[in-house]
Symmetry: C2
Subunit: 188 residues, 2 copies
């Protein structure tokens, strides 16, 4: 359902577009918040057309099909936005690892948390750069910025959590982790 809504939304923003256009557009906007590749998008567009939510307005070169949202499609989108209460099932591999960390000894657990921290920092850096680019280029819609903002905030939260958890597991070990020291050879 969400994919359908996302595609209807993109069509509403951009006007008539092909599956290829939508896939490209998806990749650099909603993608930060919901993932889908062309192999999922093309069949979904076919189903949406069969359901009367969109129509093939025209066919261009190379078999390019131009879709437009129908009245039903617009209604569907508006109805979902206004009436649908989002579900937010948490499905976090980070949290699973956190839950199971006690099966490792403290030093191993700290190493795992260190890897987590690095991963989240990298992701956060990417999102923030993107945010800066989009803001300056003004290529981004106002609300697209808000979605990106949510992503950045969540990454910050996860990062802070990983650091605090590391501290809770072993305060001394974490405090000893200053730049230039690895803490692996000299314990004192």
């Amino acid at each position: 359902m969400s994919l359908r809504i996302a595609l209807l939304g993109l069509l509403s923003f951009s006007g008539p577009a092909s599956g290829y256009d939508l896939a490209k557009n998806f990749e650099k906007s909603i993608n930060y918040v919901w993932q889908a590749g062309h192999s999922q998008i093309y069949p979904e567009l076919a189903k949406m057309a069969a359901d009367g939510l969109i129509t093939v307005e025209a066919e261009g070169p190379r078999g390019r099909k131009i879709y437009t949202a129908t009245r039903e499609g617009v209604d569907e989108l508006r109805g979902w936005l206004i009436a649908h209460t989002p579900s937010d099932p948490v499905r976090s591999e980070y949290a699973i690892q956190a839950y199971l960390l006690q099966l490792l000894d403290p030093l191993e657990a700290l190493a795992v948390l260190g890897r987590m921290t690095a991963g989240i920092e990298a992701k956060l850096k990417g999102l923030e750069e993107l945010s800066a680019v989009k803001r300056s280029a003004a290529e981004q819609t106002r609300f697209g910025t808000y979605a990106l903002d949510l992503g950045i905030r969540h990454a910050h939260t996860t990062l802070a959590w990983a650091r605090d958890t590391a501290t809770a597991i072993s305060p001394e070990a974490v405090e000893g982790r200053n730049p230039g020291e690895t803490g692996s050879t000299d314990a004192g």
Copy 2:
């Protein structure tokens, strides 16, 4: 893969257990972080047994099967914890709605954000109550608490984001939202 790991983890904590036990246990622990029902757990256990990660140690009354992790299972779990970098694909209906809100007029958008806020507040309340219960009952493992903590932090973050976004859309309208006023009939 994650389900497998979660089940191996639960088995490691509890010792030998049946699918039923694991499903119950799952529901009140990892469930806040990764969801799976019995209809997913039973087949997965069968596959894990076929793959040599667990074995049926004994059979109890009512066809109850008691599983234990094998050496391979323990290795698999430890290997995943130590080597696997968690993926955290964001798949948030909240964010999709945020992205598409500009298709509504500001008053409609505010109503949607209000519903979001209420939903997240309810969820947060549930998680925090649970956290209090678990802390007092000491029934919770130390790291299970950390996973729950992550859930609570994320909910807080989403809530703050929803409020800030509402303010950004329409500062006046949001400031006017005091208890006792609905703001729907008298526009001020």
